[in-house]
Amino acid sequence: MNLNPPKPTAAMRVRVTYAKEGAMRYTGHLDLQRVWERILRRSRLPVAYSQGFHPQVRLNLASALPLGMTSQCEVLDFWLYETIDPTVVAKILRPVMPPGLTVQDVQEVDLHTPALQILMRFSDFEVIFLEPIEPTGFIQRVLALLAAETLPREWRQKNYDLRPLIQSLEVIPPDPTHPLRLTMRLSSQENANARPEEVIAALGFDSLTTRIRRTALIFVS
């Protein structure tokens, strides 16, 4: 069944900030697109579809969150054929969200703003180490890493330099309620994308013994 009415044009672009947590952190980027398509179908909002032979919900996810990481600041855009108050859109979306995805904020954005991927500049991450770590030695390692001119690394059989992709690293010492944490601001652009696991590996640790959370997406202002 595919009784397509003549295509109306999108009337509104909606930007959603959402959390990705729980079991959903093991859902990869492509699968997440489908999860969102189904959220929007369940919402019955007048969602805009792509043109063509296989019309699909028009979706634009800002930046792929690596598998296993959580975030409370993921961003996506979709389009509506009608203009609807963003607070109403949020109210409609919340009950149809699957476990692990939570709507934080809904905004209307200008229809002509460039795609989110083009606007993306940096991602902030927070890393918690599950095994105890001696803070002084750790700080030394971080300083050494920041002091390095280049950090040659290999990712999927491709050599690259990690160092220019690291904007900043900061160690937050353990306190009675928190273990040692490492925060980082990494480049998040299409051809200059750093993965926090790579930084952790460059520091000499196994990312499997960490818990990583994305804490902010930084867009071009």
């Binding site: 595919n2 397509n4 079991a23 093991y26």
Partner: protein
């Protein structure tokens, strides 16, 4: 001794990112059911013994999940096989197989229920028990262990799995699963030995407790007799059916990672009256029961609302035979217009009317090709298997398909039908070329043909349960002929490896002694036998050799008409004498018409006469 869910989750967190597609192993999907573990009387783990991707879409288990979770005193959870990488990780990290919802070890459950839709899952079922730290053999399990039950189409011959399973459910599970839980709960309150549980289960109609039967063999290996060892052991065990199909399921679990058949299914009809002789489902799913059009439309809409899926599959063994198929397709058109969803209607008859039906369902979409299943390429062969379609009718249908805008036709054939010769196989080559020529004449060089070749495996409870399955060499010779003959850039050929067919053939008509072969093959590392790339045939050859059983006895042997079969004490409602008559007719090349027109006394009506009296309005499609 087993790990707590917290311990399991904490260990999992450190290993999940080392395996492919970890989303298979975490649960937490939309519409999964979560309850409070401690406040639930009976915990049931429903297991599809293959990976999540294959098991999640299974409608049978989804129905039982829903049935059980409607009860306040039961929590049904799910478990699937870990893929090889995850199995290694689980064993290494000392993590038992766990349920996706609560992350409890399967050993913590009261009841483990397997679905066994096909035979090549048997080693996986053993692996699931082993990964759960449970004894594989029913005899070795005690009151401290879960009750292990199994159902599904393969269990119409339960014997190869008899030593591993405490009780089998024969037939439809929607009602009997509740009776099993009730019996289990009463037994648990009673504090009596495990044997009492098995005896009580045996009293339930449709439940087969294999340990309550003694099998003896003749010197030639055939069955001498199957004797009940207790009063409560029924002989035969007659399958369970529902007089009327229950309200269709709509709250499907929506996977957060991709799976096969990522769509919502709506069963429009159960059973089939066509009587294709090779078809196991067509024999064991009788009688035909249809759902009303309005109920189907309502269910499809509810399922779409609950899941957000973009595709609905209308399921049945033969969509064209659904009495109100035109009304159904028209109502779908009226109801779902503009919703951007696709509807699939599989199993259409080979006639141009089917093309019209598909045309109405797919206003503009022509992707995916048009599937037809002639099963055999000569009219002689199609008479033997009782799927009488003329080649002319096929070619006319194909012409209509290409004319209506499809560019690809998928044709399903089986090789290895009884009495099939290389000429019959050559006819598949010729027919595919004729179909392509029709395509060329209609749409020119864009026309494509896809020939999907299955290999016939004789199944228990069918008219062909007496016949010999082709040997590996015979199958290979036929496949070679096809591969050679269909070398054409516009013809795509897909097939099953002969070794896989051979294994299925040995297990499908196996007896209780084959359990030892399954056990040994599993010990040697056999698993995922349904996966062609998991080539473990030599392990099976070794396992047969060690047990002293001849695989050809099971696969490559024409049975005498009077032979007692290992599954004769399991009754699918169709009489053995009817199956035998149908087998004889096939030897004469005589077809049996659709039994919606005239009753041929297969036995289903007398087998369920009480049920029919109790539900006089039930719309069985028996005349």
């Amino acid at each position: 001794m087993t790990l707590t869910p917290q311990e399991i989750e904490s260990r999992l967190e450190r290993v999940l990112l080392t395996v492919q597609k970890p989303g298979r192993y975490v649960g937490g999907e939309l519409n999964q059911v979560v309850k409070d573990w401690d406040s639930i009387a009976t915990h049931v783990a429903l297991v599809f013994p293959d990976i999540y991707d294959i098991g999640l879409p299974n409608l049978g288990l989804a129905i039982l999940y829903d049935e059980l979770n409607r009860r306040a005193d039961v929590w049904a959870e799910r478990a699937y096989c870990p893929w090889l990488d995850m199995e290694a990780v689980l064993r290494q990290a000392g993590i038992p197989l766990y349920s996706l919802e609560s992350k409890h070890s399967l050993a913590d459950f009261d009841i483990i229920g397997f679905t066994l839709p096909y035979e090549t899952l048997y080693t996986n079922a053993l692996n699931v028990l082993d990964l759960s730290g449970l004894p594989l053999f029913s005899n070795d399990r005690t009151t401290a262990h879960p009750l292990v039950i199994a159902g599904g189409h393969a269990t119409y011959n339960p014997e190869p799995m008899a030593p591993f399973i405490d009780a089998f459910v024969i037939g439809e599970g929607e009602e009997v699963i509740h009776e099993i839980v009730d019996v289990y709960q009463a037994w648990k309150r009673s504090g009596r030995p495990r044997q009492n549980l098995l005896s009580s289960l045996a009293k339930i109609k449709g439940v087969y407790v294999p340990s309550l039967y003694q099998v003896s063999y003749q010197p030639d290996g055939a069955i001498q007799s199957v004797e009940p060892l207790a009063d409560e052991a029924r002989l035969p065990v007659v399958k369970r059916i529902l007089a009327e199909l229950p309200a269709p399921l709509t709250h499907f679990i929506v996977p957060s990672v991709d799976v096969v058949h990522n769509r919502v299914p709506v069963e429009i009809m159960r059973g089939c009256t066509r009587g294709c002789r090779f078809c196991h489902a067509g024999m064991v799913q009788r009688p035909v029961r249809e759902r009303p059009v309005a109920e189907i439309i309502r269910a499809a809409q509810e399922a779409l609302d609950a899941t957000g899926c973009e595709e609905v599959a209308l399921l049945s063994l033969s969509s064209s035979d659904y009495t109100q198929i035109i009304e159904l397709v028209q109502s779908i058109g009226a109801h779902f217009a503009g919703q951007q969803i696709s509807i699939t209607l599989p199993s259409l008859r080979i006639e141009s009317f089917s093309v019209e039906l598909m045309d109405r369902l797919h206003e503009s979409k022509r992707a995916g090709g048009f599937t037809l299943a002639p099963e055999a390429a000569t009219e002689r062969m199609r008479q033997i298997i009782n799927k009488p379609v003329s080649t002319q009718q096929l070619l006319e249908t194909v012409k209509a398909v290409y004319q209506h805008g499809w560019t690809s036709v998928k044709l399903y054939f089986m090789i290895g039908h009884p009495s099939e010769t290389l000429e019959d196989v050559q006819a598949i080559v010729d027919l595919c070329k004729s179909v392509l020529a029709v395509g060329h004449s209609v749409i020119g060089g864009r026309a494509k043909v896809h020939a999907g070749i299955g290999t016939f495996v004789p199944k228990a409870q069918t008219p062909f349960q007496w016949v010999s399955c082709d040997s590996i060499e015979q199958v290979r010779a036929k496949l070679d002929l096809l591969k050679h003959g269909l070398r054409n850039p516009n013809i795509k050929l897909t097939w099953n490896e002969p070794e896989d067919t051979f294994l299925e053939a040995c297990l499908a008509r196996g007896d209780r002694r084959t359990a030892e072969v399954i056990y040994r093959a599993w010990q040697k590392g056999a698993k995922f036998d349904a996966w062609q790339e998991q080539y473990r045939y030599p392990l099976w050859v070794e396992a047969f050799a060690e047990t002293g059983l001849d695989p050809f006895f099971y696969s490559h042997r024409t049975r005498p008409q009077e032979e007692i079969f290992p599954w004769d004490h399991i009754n699918a409602g169709v009489r053995k004498s009817f199956l035998l008559q149908d087998y004889r007719w096939s030897l004469e090349g005589r077809t049996r018409p659709d039994c919606r027109e005239q009753c041929y006394a297969c036995g289903i009506l007398p087998a369920f006469s009480e049920l029919r009296l109790a539900y006089p309005d039930a719309a069985w499609k028996c005349p």
